[in-house]
């Protein structure tokens, strides 16, 4: 009786899901070994993270606040992947959305009930504008959107830094390198967690329904898995690509809008906290499923929060970024290995 290894075109969901779990565990074990080698006690650190995160309402509220931008950026990247577009620029669209929303808040007079929805729209438009050039370049000249979206991240970071330290600098003189406190804010509903969280949930459900139940969503999914087949079937590939990429940018822009209007309340350099890059992680963990973004974002929020909890121990957000990279690395390996199965004969 002979056995041989066979590769199948795509991994069964259960195996892929298990591979993700393994990847996360392996990444944490690897990080633990490295930390132990550096003289830390990984078990004590892990216990401290669990206790501070889940042991109190404050810890959960911190996670609840971090998960909002992660849902939006993760969803943004996942939406792009539906049609095979790699939007690595969620970071830049985040900044653009925050920038546009801040502009509305600072310069458009009016009651909060009117201005907040306007900021929402401005955030989405800001994000969409930020991805416009990469979108058109991909659609009409077949320029790789991965690199163009990424390069615009640096431009957006510089733009926000510039306005926050220059033209929009807080005129009161009390705050350095930031705009004035925004006159409007997203109200809170649970401790420090604001209404951005339920809105993020609703946006996820809407997008999921769009892909699952509409003709448009069906065509996009076909176009994503086989562009050639989509063209033969007469589906407007280019139009779908443009709409999907702009939607992706708009969703990332909402992340920035809620971060500035609900959490930080001022526009400043570095406001994005790598949320755009972590969004890539979220989307990959979710296997580009909009609903899957929710648990994946929650997990990333816990990991990100552990970096904040452990800051006093000399572990920084950068360390967390490195661990995130490790998870992504193992996930990529696991995704490939999950496609193999042993068959008899």
């Amino acid at each position: 009786m002979a056995y041989r290894i066979q590769r199948i075109p795509s991994a069964p969901p259960s195996v892929a899901f298990a591979a993700r779990g393994m990847a996360i565990v392996l990444a944490l074990v690897t990080a633990g070994i490295v930390l132990a080698a550096l003289g830390f006690n990984p078990l004590a650190l892990g216990w401290q993270v669990l206790r501070t995160t889940f042991g109190s309402s404050y810890g959960l509220e911190d996670v609840g606040l971090l998960v909002i931008p992660l849902i939006f950026t993760g969803l943004a990247v996942a939406v792009g992947q539906k049609i095979g577009a790699q939007n690595i620029g969620a970071e830049g669209q985040f900044y653009a959305g925050a920038f546009a929303a801040t502009g509305v808040a600072l310069f458009v007079p009016g009651p909060t009930a009117v201005i907040l929805p306007l900021m929402f729209v401005a955030g989405a438009i800001g994000g969409a504008i930020w991805i416009l050039v990469p979108t058109l370049a991909r659609a009409y000249a077949d320029v790789n959107e991965l690199i163009t979206t990424l390069l615009l991240n640096f431009v957006a970071t510089l733009m926000v830094y510039w306005v926050a330290t220059g033209p929009w600098l807080d005129p009161s003189g009390r705050a350095l390198a930031t705009t004035a406190r925004l006159p409007h804010e997203v109200p809170e509903f649970w401790g420090i967690v604001h209404w951005g969280l339920p809105v993020a949930g609703v946006v996820v459900l809407l997008v999921a329904a769009l892909f699952a139940f509409t003709r448009w969503g069906y065509e996009v999914r076909i176009a994503g898995s086989n562009p050639q087949a989509a063209r033969y079937a007469g589906m407007p590939f280019r139009r779908h690509l443009i709409v999907v990429m702009l939607l992706s940018g708009a969703i990332a822009g909402l992340a920035g809008m809620f971060e500035v209007a609900g959490t930080v309340h001022r526009l400043q350099g570095g406001i994005s906290n790598n949320f755009g890059y972590l969004g890539i992680m979220v989307a990959v963990l979710a296997r580009s499923s909009p609903i899957g973004v929710l648990p994946a974002a929650a997990l990333m929020a816990v990991i990100l929060n552990s970096g904040i909890v452990l800051q006093t121990q000399g572990i920084t957000v950068s360390t967390v970024l490195a661990i995130t990279g490790l998870i992504l690395f193992y996930t990529a390996i696991g995704d490939e290995l999950a496609r193999y199965r042993i068959v008899r004969g």
Partner: protein, 311 residues
């Protein structure tokens, strides 16, 4: 005239970072592997370089150790993408996140301190005395000559003038045919991707030991991604890549000049120039030179893992 000489001197110095990283990426992409980890490798190389010279003031050792570190991470990346055939884009992004995060964690101890030993400019006798541009062109550190003259010429010769180079390009264009012809596809990919990663890390060390020269978090500042873009613009050719890097050095140094001479443009806006320039450089040629497209095209099997059994 001094200003122009100064701009040229800075352009060459600034372009060197991109040129070295881009040459490394040319090696990887010519054998069919996209390495998007350049940014992370550069960060690792940058921090290795500074850590070495702080321990012992020998910049050459710092540069060499950075390349060793890059080679090691390159082998990890190559093993997973070439032998395990994991997704190259994801692994590259993972390498960028890991490298950037690790470098920032390690580099906290060195943050802000200038490098205690750097690559000094060496004036080449006679040539550096040429009026006008002699000093700008021939009073550079030793790495500049390596990056702009020795490496690109050697790589060009290797890729386009030898049998081995033909094999190499065959692996990137059509691995199945190369395999059938007896070329060891996987080994070729593994070693060239690793070597390319070593060059990328070397570019990071160049940054902290010759160009900036100090470490701070975010010192790489997207240069890895610009290098990846330059490779596309340069049509995957070593000499073109170096020329494109020099053009970028020029854009960067114009930003410096603007800052130094108080041009009425805010410095963050000037700092955007290299990124905007890169975007323009990868979009415009596609539209403008339709006929050049085939000549400058990417290796046909770029980004695709090779499976012998599904040949």
């Amino acid at each position: 005239m001094d200003i122009i000489a100064g701009i040229i001197q800075t352009s060459i110095l600034a372009g060197g970072v991109l040129a070295l990283a881009a040459l490394g990426e040319v090696l990887a992409e010519r054998v069919g592997v996209v390495n998007l980890g350049v940014e992370g490798l550069m960060a690792l190389g940058a921090v290795t370089g500074i850590a070495t010279v702080v321990a012992t003031p020998n910049p050459m050792l710092g540069f060499a150790l950075a390349m060793v570190v890059g080679f090691f991470f390159g082998m990890v990346f190559a093993a997973t993408t070439v032998y395990l055939r994991a997704n190259q884009v994801l692994c590259g992004l993972a390498l960028t996140l890991m490298g950037t995060g690790m470098a920032a964690t390690i580099g906290r101890a060195y943050s802000g301190t200038p490098a205690p030993a750097t690559f000094p400019p060496i004036a080449i006798p006679y040539l550096s005395d040429i009026p006008l541009l002699g000093r700008a062109l021939f009073t550079q550190n030793i790495l500049v000559y390596l990056i702009y003259i020795i490496l690109p010429v050697a790589l060009h010769w290797l890729m386009f003038r030898t049998k081995h180079g033909l094999d190499m390009r065959a692996v990137g264009e059509n691995p199945a045919a190369a395999d059938a012809a007896g070329i060891p596809v996987q080994a070729m990919r593994f070693w060239y991707v690793s070597a390319g990663a070593a060059l990328a890390a070397g570019a990071g060390a160049y940054l902290t030991l010759a160009f900036v020269p100090s470490w701070s978090e975010g010192v790489v500042a997207g240069r890895g991604w610009i290098a990846v873009s330059l490779v596309i613009f340069a049509g995957y050719r070593p000499i073109n890549a170096v020329a494109a890097a020099l053009l970028f050095g020029l854009i960067t140094s114009l930003g410096f000049v603007g800052q130094a001479r108080n041009w009425p443009i805010p410095s963050p806006v000037l700092s955007m120039l290299p990124y905007l320039g890169t975007i323009a450089m990868i979009i415009v040629p596609v539209l403008a030179w339709q006929r050049m497209r085939r000549l400058m095209a990417a290796p046909a099997a770029l980004g695709e893992p090779y499976f012998r059994d599904v040949r």
